[in-house]
């Protein structure tokens, strides 16, 4: 809210310069978002959050706050002192049907007013605060709303029928607002009506029927305390808010109706004449001021620094709070009704510590060591995996958790998690896989880079069909592409995956035929499902050119995704030394020609089965196809490594194994040794 310093000076003495004042208010009270000088005045833009809106989003309330933090004299105290009460009006009544809808409804009759233009000073103040001047009566109500935070409304008394009833609207009951909007209401909306029709939407907007006009002679001023929830719900339903509804939303002190009515009546008498005709008040449940005990011991326990009772008393004096009773250590405080946010001891602590000054609070080191402090294992592991991936040449991206609506065809809509309020069709569903956002990154990067390796670790979301529960998993996914990458891309990525698994202590990795997961995204025959110790952890494969076409990617792309929640329990986090063999390894090479369709893992399986336990490693080091070999044939060369833990191997022992291997391969795959 905007505050004029000159106007504030009506209610509080300000000795500081605007910038000095802004600094003090910022440190002890409220956030000043801007200081702007215009002409001979300076304006503060003050951020008012829900806790301080009720008491400080008005000139007098903010002036009271300035007085508390600067010690400047508060000059508006007399406004809150109740003067002599007017007689209750007799020929007109006020009734509230549900007291939950309206804690208090007060009215003041003023006969003999003259409706005309406001004086210049009033117009200027309203306009400086963003309000349009209308006529002296309406302007006075707006002015006092800015002063005291209590919304006010003026009706043309001559147009009212018998009395005021605060009631629920009937379903589909209609009314026309002052600004000409036709509004249809429901039984959920509270209205101010007379015995014939609706006069105003309670707490939101007045209606045309009892509008103040140039001919108005007698007015009924309204100051009410409507239920915040009801007001908010009505504004949501009818689709607009007003200054008044915003104030009701945060709640108002019910004492203010009366104070504001006398204040506005006085002003109207000055600028429009008229007399005070009678006071009306429906106030079923009076608010009782809260009394909170403030113990200096408890304060020290929470804040970590003592406060002298004398100092605490001084702070409450500045706040204009009343001390009802006091012992050496405890003050019983009557919390003013305007401070609706102060409900308990801790709230009082905040008042004391902020006025005393957070800057004077001395830092004190936390006591004791925390022996059970530990880092989440998986989090720690994820960090290691990220560092490894960077070591393998991958760049790490973060993407949004949202995917476009149009992608549901490939994901299968049933398992996707949908948002109630997506920000756009581009960010429509929660990602069921990290693969999808990676394509977006790919699309933007292929314009600049031919050689891309990138990865992401993040959460993905899905749900079982028809079931409520949302499944959230942490995944690792990555992609590589390169100009003329070809088949070798797959093997390069496979090598990286194997090495990543090895350094995670995973021994048994298997690549099996792929079961299609995302419709049309991968090439099924060039994709593998990956199993660790027999457990499915994810997949790796080539992206189909049809899918890549969507992203203007012309080169081959291989991608993978693993479920870290599944993978993590399969990893080893402890390691131990294993004594190495004292005896040398013997290496033999074997080259042969075999049918192209024979898979390497089939060959390796047969080799291991045929050999004794002396064979410790098989390593494919060469492969080629060519006319020389004949159609449908390939040549393969392996290093075979033999070793014993308890003796030096003889040539005969190794040859014997090699012979068995060759025989087995011949029997099974009809190989031809080269």
């Amino acid at each position: 809210m905007k505050f004029s310093i000159n106007w504030l000076k009506d209610y509080v003495d300000i000795a500081l310069s605007p910038q000095e004042l802004a600094d003090v208010v910022l440190l002890h009270s409220l956030e000043i978002e801007g200081v702007e000088t215009k002409g001979d005045d300076t304006y503060f833009d003050v951020a008012l959050l829900p806790n301080r809106f009720p008491d400080a989003a008005n000139y007098i309330g903010f002036a009271r706050e300035i007085s508390a933090v600067t010690g400047g004299d508060f000059k508006a105290g007399h406004i809150f002192k109740k003067g002599k009460k007017l007689n209750t009006a007799t020929n007109f009544s006020v009734r509230v049907e549900n007291k939950e809808d309206c804690a208090r409804y007060s009215g003041l009759l003023m006969p003999g007013v003259e409706v005309k233009d406001s004086p210049i000073w009033l117009k200027e103040r309203l306009e400086a605060n963003g309000l349009r001047a209308i006529n002296n009566i309406v302007d006075a109500t707006n002015y006092v709303m800015l002063e005291l935070g209590q919304p006010l409304h003026a009706f043309d008394y001559e147009k009212l029928d018998k009395g005021i009833i605060v009631r629920r609207a009937r379903d589909k009951e209609e009314m026309i607002t002052l600004d000409g909007r036709e509004v249809e209401l429901t039984n959920e909306d509270v209205v101010v009506a007379d015995h014939k029709q609706i006069l105003a939407i309670a707490g939101v907007k007045g209606g045309k029927v009892a509008e103040i006009t140039g001919a108005t002679k007698t007015i009924l001023l309204e100051a009410a305390n409507f239920d915040p929830d009801r007001v908010v719900r009505t504004t949501r339903r009818i689709g607009f808010t007003t200054d008044a509804s915003q104030r009701f939303k945060y709640g108002i002190d019910p004492n203010m109706t009366e104070i504001a009515l006398y204040r506005v009546a006085e002003l109207i008498q000055k600028i429009g004449g008229g007399g005070m005709g009678g006071f009306l008040d429906a106030y079923p449940n009076r608010v009782v001021p809260k009394v909170i005990a403030f113990s200096v011991k408890q304060y020290e326990k929470l804040v970590g620094e003592p406060i002298a009772p004398r100092e605490a008393r001084e702070i409450f004096r500045k706040l204009r709070w009343v001390i009802k009773k006091a012992t050496k250590e405890v003050l019983w405080l009557e919390v003013p009704a305007w401070r609706r946010d102060v409900e308990r001891f801790e709230d009082v602590v905040e008042e004391v510590v902020r006025l005393y000054g957070y800057d004077t609070l001395e830092s004190k080191t936390l006591k004791g060591v925390s022996l059970h402090a530990r880092r989440d294992d998986q989090l720690h592991y994820v960090r290691k995996i990220k560092e490894r991936m960077a070591g393998f040449g991958f760049d790490e991206i973060y993407s949004y958790s949202f995917i476009p609506e149009a992608w549901q065809e490939v994901c299968g809509e049933g398992t996707l998690v949908q948002l109630e309020n997506p920000i756009s069709t581009e960010y429509h569903y929660l990602r069921p896989s990290l693969i999808f956002p990676l394509f977006r990154a790919l699309e933007s990067n292929v314009k600049f880079f031919g050689d891309i390796k990138m990865f992401e670790v993040g959460n993905v979301f899905s749900r079982e069909r028809k079931e409520e529960g949302i499944i959230e998993r942490t995944k690792l996914a990555g992609m590589i592409t390169r100009e003329n990458g070809g088949d070798s891309l797959f093997y390069e990525l496979k090598g990286i995956i194997n090495e990543l698994f090895r350094v995670c202590g995973v021994e048994q990795v298997e690549y099996r035929l792929h079961k299609e997961l995302w419709h049309g995204v991968f090439i099924p025959s060039k994709t593998a499902d990956v199993y660790v110790n027999g457990v499915y952890v994810g997949y790796v494969g080539f992206i189909s050119s049809r899918w890549l076409g969507r992203f203007d990617v012309a080169h081959d792309v291989v991608a993978f995704e693993f479920d870290l929640n599944t993978f993590f329990p399969l990893t080893q986090r402890e390691q131990a030394f294993i004594p190495f063999s004292k005896y040398p390894e013997v290496m033999r090479d074997i080259s042969f020609v075999v049918d192209v369709g024979v898979r390497i893992d089939e060959l390796e399986k047969v080799v291991y089965q045929a050999a004794s336990e002396l064979l410790i490693d098989i390593d494919l080091f060469d492969m080629f196809e060519g006319e020389r070999l004949g159609a449908g044939k390939k040549s393969l060369s392996f290093h075979l490594t033999f070793r014993s833990d308890n003796k030096t191997l003889t040539s005969e022992e190794v040859t014997s194994d090699l012979t068995k291997i060759i025989v087995a391969l011949r029997d099974r795959f009809s190989i031809e040794i080269r």
Partner: protein, 342 residues
Amino acid sequence: MTLQEIEQLVFTEIGRVSTAKELEEIQHTYLGRKGHLTGILRGLSLLSLEEKRDVGGKANALRVRIETALKERLEELKDKQEERFFDITFPGEKIVTGHLNPLTLILKEIEDIFISFGFSVVEGPEVETEFNNFDALNIPANHPAREMWDTFWIKSQIPNPKSQRSLLRTHTSPMQIRYMMTHEPPFRIIVPGTTYRYEATDARHEMQFTQVEGLVVGEDVTLANFKAVIEAFFIRLFAQKVEIRLRPGYFPFVEPGVEVDATCPRCKKKGCELCKFSGWLELGGAGMVHPNVFDAVKYNPTEVQGFAFGIGAERFAMIKYGIPDIRLFRAGDLRFIRQFKI
């Protein structure tokens, strides 16, 4: 050849050669099986004992001298060979390593600092219940404070669900609830994690960003303790002396609640673009855990107390690395990511 002749010739020859091959030839000529000196040594048997002793001694001494000279000359030749032209400015082989996102880098720094303070690092889910994200944090339905968090709601599969609505967490604070429901004080935790706000993005606002929540609960954890912890944290993170300023703030799940400012590490309080010429940066929110939050997790508020805080990871990365636009973190742009190498 006589010993004298050998002695006169051989050392000159050794001095003249320029290749190892030539040296080998000299060795062969004099010390080889049919070499000149070998011949003399072989002929010793024909001489008298006295001559044997005289000539043999001299011949052997000469052999040792020749061998030494050959070895030295060989070393010299090797040295010379190593001295040939070599271009140290020729480019090195390219080793390609990847780059971690600056968000990962800043989180690592933040986590490591708090770990050194004895904090545990824990994580929670991004899809949360309305209860954990709001109600249990003293932000009941219909409270105007809820408007402080613009929320992405998850669409329910059931038309009128009786169970709690789900949402994308608007802060990491719901993990306070999850953690306290399953652990007993005293403890110190931080919770790094992804959070969401339903709002338009610009250079300073994101719909998806990263928070680090802190929570310390015990019998006698005070606001003064918080000030010490956050001060030490900033000094470590920015690797320089910074001042801390607490001022009144409002978050319904803490009371008293504070905003945490630090002196601008770029201009050192003098005023610059980064701090909008105020000398101070707003770096987080904090406060003493509200008793209603302890009530929600079945802790006894008269027995325990503590502080909670929340800081934005992107904001720290932007300050520390001079990143001008928060949207860069999730743009997946390798031109950005490849700049961060340390």
